[in-house]
């Protein structure tokens, strides 16, 4: 099951090379990487927890919350509205990140 999921993810990440590459944030060593990620509205960001500890991806303005992400858990969120979204880890509030969502070009 785990293998299958990983395989599908790899395909999903590899396929849309024509569009902009799939944006993602890795959680490792109690940090979000990249700390600031800039995307275009309508894109979906994939967050992956690569730590032994649990983390969350929680919007400062309350607009999204992954809830608890266990080790190797993957969580996706689509950002439909342009803006700057600050987020943090509820379990480790010193972990902070930002998603900058630009308006999609017509």
């Amino acid at each position: 099951m785990r293998l299958l999921t990983t395989g599908l993810l790899a395909i999903a990440l590899a396929a849309p090379a024509a569009a902009s590459s799939a944006p993602s944030v890795t959680i490792k060593d109690d940090a979000f990487s990249p700390v600031t990620l800039t995307i275009v509205s309508g894109q979906t960001v994939t967050f992956v927890n690569r730590d032994d500890d649990a983390h969350t991806v929680t919007a400062t303005n309350g607009s999204f919350d992954s809830r608890g992400l266990d080790t190797n858990a993957v969580w996706r969120h689509r950002f439909g509205v342009p803006g700057t979204y600050a987020y943090f880890c509820q379990l480790h509030p010193f972990m902070k990140g930002t998603i900058v969502v630009k308006a999609a070009k017509p």
Binding site: D29, D30, D51, D52, D53, A54, T56, T58, T60, D65, R67, G68, D70, T71, F88, Q90, L91, H92, P93, F94
Partner: protein, 295 residues
């Protein structure tokens, strides 16, 4: 070796209670009258993280069960067992079910505080459906008197961006609560996150903890027992003694020894030496405790 010196350290040295010891080192009659007259025993456990399944402890249910068995085997059952939070790892219903089924085996009554891992998503409901602090207010914090001791259970895991944080409502309640307690009464405070700035860089602090400590200054003997940091750390500050407890799940690094906190993986034998439970005895107002590793 370490345990012997630790017990010596536990003897009160704060100026506020120096009167309690005569030249012989024996308790004076005045101290007996000032504190409670009963001997109270209770047990503290913490940070069980039911649902965690990484290398640092692949069987957190097993180690919690081992702690429960050891407590049940104590020659005299404690008045209560307090769990100072992070009962579960991810606040899921399954993890709460599993934790509850293990902790229900305790013979002594359980008083369970939530940690931040028990209220993920700012959601108190799963914790509250399974665990409680007896006599707690609607907001969850609590105080009670037993055996001549005033107990306070504080919640400092809810204002996530500034965790730990007590908040003005809880501080107002605490001021009113402590206002009615005589300074000679021994006070025991339970919390999840340390109330003082133990290591702020890793979030091991309560941002407004100093305001709570100011309210506790009038008492002759205060002990604050917390979890969160998965290791035994003691600190004295005037009349207030702090003691962070070991986890039942896995250890975390000593502050500042590595770049980040998190689960530390040891050999199984060494793991059992760093996790366990704490027995606490309050004898005529004087509190002693001993940390008891599982291995």
């Amino acid at each position: 070796m370490r345990r012997a010196s630790f017990l010596e350290h536990v003897a009160w040295t704060g100026a506020g209670i120096a009167y309690a010891f005569g030249a012989s080192g024996l308790l004076s009659g005045r101290a007996v009258a000032a504190g409670g007259t009963e001997t109270v025993q209770f047990v503290q456990i913490s940070d069980s993280h039911i649902g965690f399944h990484q290398a640092a402890n692949p069987d957190v249910a097993g180690t919690l069960e081992a702690a429960v068995r050891a407590i049940n085997a104590m020659p005299a059952q404690p008045a209560f067992v307090v769990h100072t939070g992070d009962i579960t790892h991810l606040s899921t219903p399954q993890q709460f079910d599993d934790a509850k089924s293990i902790l229900a085996q305790l013979q002594a009554p359980l008083i369970a505080l939530p940690g931040e891992h028990d209220v993920i998503g700012n959601d108190f409901t799963a914790y509250r459906a399974n665990f409680k602090i007896p006599q707690s207010t609607a907001s969850g914090w609590a105080s009670w008197d037993a055996g001549g001791v005033h107990y306070v259970a504080l919640l400092n895991v809810f204002d996530f961006e500034k965790m730990g944080m007590l908040g003005s409502d809880q501080l107002s309640w605490l001021a009113a609560d402590l206002g009615g307690v005589a300074p000679t009464v021994p006070v025991v405070v339970f919390a999840h996150v340390p109330l003082y700035a133990l290591y702020p860089a890793w979030g091991w602090t309560t941002e407004d903890g100093a305001k709570a400590l100011a309210l506790l200054r009038k008492f002759e003997r205060v002990t604050v027992l917390n979890g969160h940091i998965h290791q035994i750390v003691t600190q004295e500050d005037g009349n207030i003694r702090f003691a962070s407890a070991a986890a039942t799940a896995y250890p975390q690094p000593k502050p500042g020894t590595v770049p980040k906190p998190g689960p530390v993986t040891l050999s199984h034998d060494d793991l059992l030496r760093t996790i366990g439970y704490r027995t606490v005895e309050i004898d005529r107002g004087n509190l002693r405790f001993e940390d008891r590793p599982l291995g």
